[in-house]
Symmetry: C2
Subunit: 103 residues, 2 copies
Amino acid sequence: MVKNKADEAFTPLPALAEAAECLKTLAHPHRLRIVQMLLRGRYAVGELAQACGIPSHMASEHLRLMQRCGLLRSEREGRKAFYEVAEPHLANIMECVEARFGP
Amino acid sequence: MVKNKADEAFTPLPALAEAAECLKTLAHPHRLRIVQMLLRGRYAVGELAQACGIPSHMASEHLRLMQRCGLLRSEREGRKAFYEVAEPHLANIMECVEARFGP
DNA sequence: TTGACATATCGTGACATGCCGATATATTTC
DNA sequence: GAAATATATCGGCATGTCACGATATGTCAA
């Protein structure tokens, strides 16, 4: 190996930039609540919106953002769209958040 | 107890709002790098700035933001200011991030 | 086909954030 | 005290985000 230990201990900046994108997307109260719910089951847009107390077109927007960076995936069933967690590491990160800020 | 299980499984929104604040503060490539370094030791502003390839007055600004939401703490020694991790859970969260985005 | 429902997208104004140069404070050295 | 070093703060500009109303798309039921 060529590089010394100090160098390779750190994640390269481009990877950190991608991580920052995901964290930024996650960093919103309603989006955290949505993720918390989706880690426990599948929900349609309207249900998530009601649980957050926001109009459904805004829940749709939050879901779109999280889907765009690979955190969620959606499936249409009839006139409803169900969302579920697509990124397995979300559970770990959410556990960390809950450990710090209390369930 | 009065509430049903579904209700009390979720973190209250104010706590999620606080969590979102911290995550938003963390969600920046240079700040993630800084945290990664501080989890391995104490560093002065200039050292962190050099490692990120940014002018030191910008590192100072990043450090101020993270200090403001309790992630870091600083101590002056002579003309230098050393920063260190103040929030123990940072290690867990950073492990999650590294597990997902590769070390 | 018409109407109702569920979700998605668009356009906008208010507001926050990131980055930068310039400048200010604090501390050591001469 | 003056110069040098290390941090910190300020003002401004560009860009991004949030919440919202309005509107568009897709789906079912009658």
